[in-house]
Symmetry: C2
Subunit: 460 residues, 2 copies
């Protein structure tokens, strides 16, 4: 028993949908390849966990660990590449999963990196990305950061007209061969999750298309180095048609008032929702590309280079967490409380905004075998010293769950450990990469050591 | 102009209140010492910031920095010590402010440390605390962690009857000279902030007094090493009488069913709210001690050692943040948006639970001089790449606020950088300690470097 219902059907559903497309994509041969990697199920996780325990990769000190399926990432990268024109630059959002080893793999697959801070830019450079394959987004780029990025040939997305003016000053001074775009807010409204809805009326992101259309058009006359448009509507919680509507509005601006030939590139951002519930049916990459192609044909047929910034859809489904059940506390009324070793430190959004986020959970025994007892409800409490540190209330899990078991937390590869909160100085857990269901484990990141932790809080 | 109204009146109010006490405390001579340090005001912050800028301690790369008034901490530690019996152990909550340099200062003042994880235990040991001055609280202590703590003479607070049984096994095996207490949940209900209300019906903390009274009493018969009671009702948002009611309920249990002579120590936890709004009037330490003494006299007159676990009330008021205004974006409707360099990374609770938390703000120009223009409202946006990253909406600040200014964020010494989220790989800022309004600055922690950041996300 798990909170999910049986085996994953994502693959066959996607295949079925794809067959409804009016025709094959010109850029790829679908062959028998899945357009999107299959959702990992608990049988897969149990198999991998069992191997990790048997091989001693997962040690008793690892009260929690992240598992990351590198093959799954490869499939997602492949599906992404195959869905868009071969000239597209797919700049993976570093924030979703900033592990250097993962970034290296993305680079090796021929993709780029989207960075949202100067720190992320340094991570991308450390992982070996060429500056020309990096897109620098941030709403607070300083003058120094802009100079550094422009001088090194990184693509820069300006967040505002004020930033464009600042870039103009730098470009006129340094005469950099700038690769600058301007981010447009198409104001398509909020999705189901306000915290990830960036294209709203009072967003901090982008220049309002509604209020500043003429200023945007004028900027393309004024700044010869302004070479691209950028739009990003949101992330989890946005409806498919909101994504298309947002890109479409900026595309229309391009066609009507700027001209396709004036642009070198068009950055459609990321924001494809992923499947957290078995009942979710998000678009896969090729469905999205197919819809985009219909709505914005010149992005697929002209010399404009398409840039994407996907993150969640590359990583979320590739990662999962195994966290040991330390105690189970009965309550005379209500669900028993399961006390486990990850909480608001790793699943920050789930703990602080519990109604907006969800992760399926399953349970394995201490050897990694799935428990399949009949369900009962449990409260899932994290390790942190505050009352709100819960991963779920009244979660249906096997009633034979007991101390020493492992809680499996699904779809945890994006926006989880990448948002790690140092609260309570819990050790950042080991992150174990694997391929082919458990063969060739590798540490993508070792468990944090005491000396690392002490150094973090020391004078430095 | 600031969001606060005029100079702080905390000192005079406290003095006035103190004079209403029925008599002097037997344990101290109040003399002309303040019972609680005065709230730092924006004139103070401006003065310190100006010096830091003039002396070059704050550099242009420090787009944000934390300032921490060590004299303020000293005063708070002193007020705490003077309010309670001299035999009390005041174990400062490491989670509120885990800086090693700050912990060393607390130790040098003769206080102890409360640790909520094995990582925090290592920080306390690194700061030089004697194990016997450390209290180890955590809802997920593993067998290995318990063995280590008990063997080294750390005081352990058991969170549940199951944990007591686990300790019993270790104690019978290792015959440790254990200093164990059991945490009781008096279930006094929720305060204004659910996330910090731990004494509720389905809390993950403590043994329910309502459901398990007889089991608790039996544990004191069964376990000779069980030497203390522990209660902690909550933190910010709890009413004074809830705190007293919670401690009182566990005190009554002791008096009625266990016996004062059976206990070596009684841990009243922390949880004293602090002043975030000028209109807040939280109890100061001596008022709380005074009320406790009336409600629970034997804690002040018997041989029971009193243990406290204050955190927020020691640190919150000692720290403040200066964060540069990078951009100001006008909106045709609504408040302009101030884009600045701290957000949900440092003020995690404020960004994710905006209605529950508050920080007053002021503005200084680029030389550190207070802006005093007439107020208008601004939205305060952080640097992070998600829509919810705001420190406030429609905050009244001087209308002459401009790019290059510093936003001062008040009362930021507790549960702020100590909960730092690594999201977007922003550099952990410099933390500058100072004494006597800006003389003798010292780095309590240097700004994180690129190599530290890259190492954090590397294989290790």
């Amino acid at each position: 028993v798990s909170t999910r219902n049986g085996r994953d059907e994502g693959w066959s559903r996607s295949t079925e949908r794809r067959s409804q497309h009016p025709g094959p994509h010109p850029n790829r041969d679908l062959g028998n390849r899945s357009p999107y990697p299959r959702r990992l199920d608990d049988a897969h996780m149990s198999s991998v966990l069992s191997r990790a325990l048997a091989e001693g990769i997962l040690q008793s000190s690892d009260c929690a660990a992240v598992f990351y399926d590198l093959t799954h990432l490869d499939s997602a990268l492949c599906a992404l590449r195959d869905s868009f024109p071969s000239t597209a630059l797919h700049a993976a959002a570093v924030k979703a999963n900033p592990l250097i080893e993962v970034l290296k793999r993305i680079r090796a697959a021929g993709h780029g990196a989207e960075v949202a801070s100067i720190g992320e830019l340094q991570l991308a450079l450390a992982a070996g990305f060429a500056p020309s394959d990096i897109v620098f987004d941030s709403p607070v780029k300083t003058g120094g950061e802009l100079s550094l990025a422009l001088a090194s040939g990184v693509m820069v997305s300006a967040n505002s007209l004020a930033e464009l003016a600042r870039i103009g000053h730098i470009c006129s001074v340094e005469n950099a061969a700038a690769l600058v775009s301007v981010r447009i807010n198409p104001e398509v409204g909020s999705g189901a999750i306000s915290g990830t809805s960036v294209a709203v009326r009072r967003s901090k992101f982008g220049v309002s298309l509604l209020d500043c259309r003429s200023e945007i058009v004028r900027a393309f006359s004024e700044y010869p180095w302004l070479a691209g448009l950028h739009v990003h509507v949101g992330s989890q919680g946005m409806a498919s048609d909101q994504l298309l509507q947002g890109v479409g509005a900026v595309y229309d601006l391009c066609i009507e008032s700027i001209g396709v030939s004036r642009l070198s590139f068009f950055n459609i951002g990321g924001g494809l929702p992923v499947k957290y519930h078995e009942s979710d049916s998000p678009m896969c990459f090729d469905e999205y590309a197919h819809s985009l192609r219909k709505r914005c044909p010149a992005l697929f047929t002209s010399d404009i280079r398409l840039v994407t910034e996907f993150g969640r859809s590359l990583h979320a489904g590739a990662g999962w967490v195994a966290s040991r059940v330390e105690y189970v506390q009965d309550h005379p009324c209500g669900s028993p409380t399961v006390l486990t070793h990850v909480g608001a430190d790793m699943f920050l959004r789930k703990a602080y905004r519990p109604d907006e986020w969800h992760h399926d959970m399953s349970v394995c025994d201490s050897a990694g075998h799935l428990r399949r007892g009949p369900p009962r409800t449990f409260d899932i409490a994290g390790p942190l010293c505050f009352a709100g540190d819960f991963l779920g209330r009244d979660v249906a899990l096997p009633e034979d769950l007991q101390e020493g078991d492992y809680l499996l937390i699904h779809d945890a590869g994006a926006y989880t450990f990448g948002m790690w909160s140092v609260y309570n100085s819990r050790f950042f857990p080991a992150i174990l990469g694997y391929e082919d269901e458990g063969v060739s484990f590798q540490h993508l990141r070792r468990r944090q050591t005491t000396s690392e932790l002490v150094r973090f809080w020391s004078r430095g």
